[in-house]
């Protein structure tokens, strides 16, 4: 298995006839540790797939360095990097049987037939390609989407590569199959103890599979951290908004002194239902340096409660908002409510909605979970 290091990676696609080139990746640097499951996540066009393809060797590098186990591989062709890749569209050879698809890379490497049979057999067993039906002699067209994806995984596994690269491998599966295959991937990672690099735009996949997540946007890395750190301590507004569903509440406002605490006051022309939260203790000390300055407050929907559910709601963290929409989603209810100038979403643990549209409801915020961002740079303040 291997450690992959990416330093100052840059990719510019040349523009056509006088047009400036398009920067796909800019200054990406990170290290994927041995046996680590690293997920690159971001919206379409953020450069995550381009980064993966540069690691694979399928895309030329404009500048920067990629190392696999310390060896610079910038000019080494894909076949000599000893990496296996699972593609979004599976990319199984339609004219070859499942067995041949899995064995092909080993045949090219002149691995003895007996060893090939052994490795394909083991991978097929691990992935359930032998039972209930033996799929090895079938052609890909005779397989379901999930089976094809398992064959694509098998093709990578039999190679016993230094690292596995996955390019949105679950995006063509239906919802049920996606959840099952996601769990299977997680199990495979534990079984194989392999270095894995995984690209997705699906934050749930990123959160559930990753040891660490690389969040990308517009070709630049926004944050590299374990999933829960990305979720609870996003480095900037983009990460805060991209990770989490429903998305984080963001409220523009100002910090001002309030007795021995610091208050966050929502910015709005209206005064009715203006959000005002008073912080004390550590949070207040951190906010003190921002006295009089504008900030953006970030608060996850699950950190807003219906004040009626609390025995003694903290008045400094409680505010009123008018209910716009109520969405019961099964185990909980999402309440969309409007303060003076912003719409907020609260996830409350009621299976049955207990709020009426148009009415005013009191919410209590979990202040220790609040994050603040600089409105100009978007970077996290605290």
């Amino acid at each position: 298995m291997a450690e992959i290091t990416v330093e100052n990676l840059r990719k510019v696609y040349p523009g056509s006839k006088g047009q400036p080139g398009k920067v796909a990746v800019e200054g990406a640097s990170f290290t994927i540790r041995d046996k680590e499951f690293m997920v690159l996540v971001g919206p379409s066009g953020c450069g995550k797939t381009t980064t993966l393809r540069m690691i694979a060797g399928l895309e030329d590098i404009t500048s920067g360095t990629i190392r696999i186990d310390g060896r610079v591989v910038n000019d080494i062709p894909p076949k000599d990097r000893d990496l296996a890749m699972v593609f979004q569209n599976y990319a199984l050879y339609p004219h070859m049987s499942v067995y041949r698809n899995m064995a092909y890379a080993l045949e090219l490497r002149r691995v003895p037939k007996r060893v090939i049979r052994d490795r394909v057999g083991k991978a097929a067993k691990l992935l359930g390609l032998l039972e209930p039906d033996d799929l090895l002699e079938r052609k890909p067209k005779a397989l379901s989407g999930g089976q094809r994806q398992r064959v694509a995984l098998g093709r990578a596994i039999v190679r016993e590569p230094k690292a596995f690269l996955f390019d949105e491998p679950l995006s063509n599966l239906d919802a049920k199959m996606r959840v099952e295959t996601r769990a299977e991937l997680s199990r495979l990672h534990r079984t194989l103890e392999a270095t894995m690099v995984y690209v997705t735009h699906d934050q749930i996949e990123a959160m559930t599979l990753a040891d660490r997540i690389v969040v990308m946007n517009e070709g630049r890395i926004q944050q590299i951290a374990p999933p829960l750190e990305v979720y609870h301590r996003p480095a900037n507004l983009f990460v805060a908004s991209f990770i989490g569903s429903p998305r984080i509440n963001t409220v523009s406002g100002r910090i001002e002194r309030d007795g021995d605490g610091m208050a966050f006051v929502e910015k709005s022309e209206r005064s009715e239902h203006r959000l005002r939260l008073v912080f004390t203790g550590d949070e207040a000390r951190m906010l003190a340096s921002r006295d009089g300055q504008e900030v953006v407050l970030g608060l996850r929907p699950e950190h807003l409660s219906d004040a009626r559910d609390l025995s003694a709601p903290d008045p400094r963290a409680t505010f009123e908002a008018r209910i716009d929409v109520v969405e019961p989603v099964g185990p909980e209810t999402w309440i969309y409510a409007r303060t003076a100038g912003h719409q907020l979403i609260a996830r409350v643990p009621h299976a049955e909605p207990r709020a009426d549209i148009g009415h005013t409801l009191r919410f209590t915020a979990e202040l220790s979970r609040a994050r603040f961002f600089d409105p100009a740079t978007g970077l996290a303040i605290c």
Binding site: L58, Y90, P94, L108
Partner: protein
């Protein structure tokens, strides 16, 4: 919902079906006339009103026509040899060139491809004399070489056809092959070619028909009777007997086009079957 009412759809198809039947009749008529004439005695070939069926089928016309064409089997062998060489040459060279135009990035690729396409605009009679001069300088006149060597240099139309087909083969497949350890030639040989069978078959069939039916090429470059092809052999009916022996000409023509027709019907199934690329999503 376009499929909601299949009966209604079938009803709407009738005008199209009738039109197609009409076209089919127009195309089949000359063919039917050729076979009918090939079985008539000479005095029934040009009567008015035309007789669609011979009073008595003259099967003897066929062996007679074969004798009248000169060494029929020798001509057939020449035609077959040239057709096969042309098929092999065209398929191999056009596929290689098409791969270069579709799967390999190189500077000026699109401009060169446009230039290649432009050569399709040049009719053969325009280059006939320079080409003849070239082959004469090479000492190839009176040999088969001018009729098969150029096939190994790829033709614009076939390159175009194969390039378009190759472009339709998902890029992921070639990238997967690259990750698996394939070099460029192996990707071409083991991944692209097997997936492009219908297109290769089409090119092969077109080339076989073109070579088999080619009259002008053999007429210009071949000198001796024993080198002639079947298409050239048919010429004998007009030159060797003063008038035209229509019944033999038609019998000869039927014999000449028979292999092409059989080949077409055999290959047609493969055209339609196509190849499945369902290894992808």
């Amino acid at each position: 919902m376009p499929d909601a009412d299949p009966i209604a759809r079938r009803g709407n198809r009738w005008p199209a079906v009738l039109l197609l039947i009409g076209f089919s009749i127009v195309f089949i008529l000359p063919f039917a006339w050729m076979i009918s004439t090939s079985l008539k005695p000479l005095n029934e070939t040009m009567v008015l009103p035309p007789k669609w069926l011979p009073s008595e089928p003259q099967w003897q016309n066929y062996p007679d026509a074969m004798r009248a064409m000169g060494p029929f089997w020798l001509h057939a062998r020449n035609s077959l040899m040239l057709a096969l060489l042309n098929v092999v040459g065209t398929v191999v060279s056009s596929a290689l060139v098409a791969y270069g135009f579709s799967r390999i990035e190189w500077r000026g690729r699109d401009s060169v491809f446009l230039l290649l396409l432009a050569t399709m605009m040049i009719p053969f009679p325009v280059i006939m004399i320079p080409v003849y001069t070239l082959f004469r300088e090479l000492g190839w006149i009176g040999t088969f070489k001018p009729l098969w060597v150029p096939a190994f240099l790829a033709g614009a139309f076939n390159v175009f056809l194969l390039r378009q087909f190759f472009l339709g083969i998902p890029r992921d497949l070639t990238e997967a092959a690259r990750m698996d350890g394939c070099g460029e030639f192996r990707i071409f040989w083991q991944i692209i070619l097997p997936l492009a069978k219908p297109a290769l078959l089409t090119v092969a069939l077109f080339q076989f028909m073109a070579t088999w039916n080619d009259f002008l090429g053999p007429l210009i470059f071949l000198v001796r009777q024993e080198q002639f092809t079947l298409a050239l052999g048919l010429q004998n009916f007009q030159s060797a007997f003063g008038g035209t022996a229509w019944h033999w000409l038609m019998a000869g023509s039927t014999l000449v086009i028979l292999p092409v027709v059989v080949l077409f019907f055999l290959a047609q199934r493969a055209f339609i079957r196509g190849i499945s690329t369902t290894g992808l999503k």
